[in-house]
């Protein structure tokens, strides 16, 4: 009897021992994500890094969807995992990660590795990466919303590239009607309207270009304003009244869906980030050579506006490979890597000194447009509770786009909920 019990108990105990095993943390882990060309780029860069330093790196591939990607970092960081050691963060996460104390301050890393901060855009470093005079992250690449358009179609039908929303709508309505005869799947304008972070980025551009926005001069959040209501109504009308955006704009349209719709030749205008440029002009792209890019339209009495996006690199405070991680950080931000990033992917580098580089200017013709867009960049709030606020706003904007709620009512509710949320957390 005793023997039997021993067997049984030791079975239970050995089961526990098996679970106790820790995964392999011996190598440097670098979390990146995105479309396939981005992954290929990182794998190439990591290969070069390993060749020159002998440090092996695991590339952790994350989903492109921003919310899912954020979750992939928050789970290991909140539980103080040693991996990933180094990762890319969306601009809006940096503030949260700093407040949560998940990021290693980079000041000593910069000193030790001889990185010159002067080579980066100062306003972005100030707005995004610096907290209480300490540096926590650095931009790998900067993003901003752009308007892509089919040059060939505008020429064919005799339109100029639009500078106001009104011009965009007029040309889109007219061209869509005539293109539909050949192509029943053709739409005038595709953008990101699904219920996720991208919706906020798009909304911000509609709003700021109409003299609205979500932060007032005093730094507090204001969403229920006449300008914002007007902008939200425009987003709604583009889908319903003018019918130039597909009905699934608010259910399925995220970056990649809009990019592919445009790339298949099914759209005249597209709002997207700079990454789409290289893909639109890829060898297999049906719209290769027919695409042009410009700043996003504004309201008749408004300013051009572009949501500031981009991905910043930081090192986990729980990393067990900080020295290696800082070497990788330096490598990723080096002139050569950043130049490769611009040439291979068509993205705008985090370093400002690259904007003078002749090779880049030759291959990325819209660099000056990007620079201009940075000057108009609309930043999202830097509160640590941004995710909660964004979630509230997403829900109410989505209700407007699905026709369930009026812009006035939705923004009023959003305003109320945002205020409640902030009040509760700041008490």
């Amino acid at each position: 009897m005793l023997a039997n019990q021993k067997v049984y108990i030791s079975l239970v105990i050995s089961a526990f021992l098996i679970f106790g095993c820790k995964p392999d943390t011996a190598r440097l882990t670098f979390a990146v994500g995105g479309a396939s060309n981005e992954i290929e780029f990182w794998e190439k860069i990591i290969g070069e890094f390993t060749d020159s330093t002998g440090i092996a790196v695991i590339v952790l591939r994350q989903p492109t969807d921003t919310d899912q990607r954020r979750q992939g970092l928050v789970i290991p960081l909140r539980s103080r995992q040693r991996d990933p050691d180094i990762f890319l963060m969306d601009v809006v996460w940096v503030g949260q990660f700093v407040v949560a104390d998940w990021l290693e301050p980079l000041d000593s890393v910069i000193m030790a590795n001889d990185i010159d901060i002067g080579n980066f855009f100062e306003p972005i470093i100030d707005q995004v990466d610096t907290y209480h005079d300490k540096l926590y992250a650095l931009p790998v690449y900067n993003d901003c919303g752009l308007l892509y358009y089919r040059r060939d179609l505008l020429e064919k039908y005799g339109f100029r590239s639009p500078t106001t929303w009104q011009e965009l709508i007029e040309s889109a309505v007219s061209i869509q009607e005539r293109e539909r005869i050949k192509n029943p799947y053709f739409y005038g304008f595709v953008w990101q309207g699904a219920q996720y972070e991208g919706l906020i980025c798009n909304f911000l551009e509609f709003a700021v270009s109409n003299n609205g926005g979500i932060i007032d001069s005093g730094g507090s959040m204001i969403v229920h304003t006449p300008q914002n209501i007007e902008a939200t109504k425009l987003m709604h009308d583009i889908i319903y009244k003018y019918s130039i955006s597909p009905p699934n704009t608010y259910t399925e349209m995220k970056e990649e869906e809009t990019r592919l719709t445009f790339e298949k030749g099914n759209a005249l205008y597209e709002r997207n980030w700079p990454y789409a440029w290289g893909l639109h002009n890829g060898e297999e792209s049906p719209v290769r050579g027919k695409v042009a890019v410009t700043v996003l339209p504004r309201a008749n009495n408004g300013q051009h506006a572009s949501t500031l996006g981009g991905w910043h690199i930081g090192i986990s405070r729980f990393s067990d490979r900080r020295t290696e991680a800082s070497m990788l950080l330096k490598f990723v931000l080096s002139y050569e890597t950043q130049k490769n990033l611009a040439l291979m992917l068509g993205w705008n580098p985090g370093r400002s000194d690259l904007y003078e580089d002749e090779d880049i200017n030759a291959s990325v013709p819209h660099l000056n447009i990007l620079k201009k867009s940075f000057e108009n960049a609309a930043a999202r709030p830097t509160t640590p509770f941004y995710t909660q606020i964004s979630d509230v706003l997403q829900k109410h904007l989505s209700a407007v786009l699905s026709g369930e709620s009026s812009p006035d009512e939705a923004l009023l509710k959003a305003q109320h909920e945002i205020k409640e949320t902030l009040k509760r957390y700041h008490e």
Partner: protein, 275 residues
Amino acid sequence: MNEKRIKNILKLSGICFVLIFSLVPFIWMVIISLNERPDFLLHEGFRLTVANFVDILTMGNLHFLDYLKNSFVIASTTALISSLIGAVAAYAISRITFTGKTLLVLTVLALSMFPQICIVGYLFKFMTNLGMINTYGALILPYIAWSLPLALWIQMSYFSRIPRELDKAAQVDGASRLQTLFKIVLPIAAPGFLSTILLLFMFCFNEFLFALMLTADHKARTVPVGISLFQGLHGELPWGYIMAASVISCVPVILIALIFQRRIISGLTHGAVKQ
């Protein structure tokens, strides 16, 4: 005569309904997985390819094989341990009288009704403190607890059908309780034990919310989470990959369902109906 015809028509249409209802969406999945593009109906029509399968099985950075391995290890370990623990407890409950027995059974049953969301937030913090997030243990331990009520329930009903005289005979021969269980009762209730293992394997193989919260990457992430987050790995929803991965992941559970359908059905009905 007339009624017999009605009955036959009803039966035939019923069979058609079951077949169409169960199989059509499933077949659609297989078709997409074997096609070059998911929107083929709008374009050039069906173009057969196995590239989706080759890709997900060979491209290391998609981690599909890791997910599959994790799922298998986690689900089978859980099924085995939970069934054993359940068997021992069920034996004690069905054979030995002790105070608080009814309370125990009722509590276990009541706990099995908890929606998973009610415990996942706490488990996340708990596993975080133990440093076990993103390990097999982070899933196996809660899965054992979560599947135990079912393991207990099914096996209790099986054991209660085995005559106690058999136990008594064994004990007269000097066997301990545990020996009686493993040498006499469990072999007779082997079908029940097998049903339990199969059902628990399926439950754990399919579980989503715990796996979503308690894992972070391919080191412990299971198939359902992998498939739900496939999104974006190749930009757009890569339907070909998603469906190919789904087809492969369905193979084990469908084989189990088809081969052991009798076992599973009896397991389910013992669990559900004997109340």
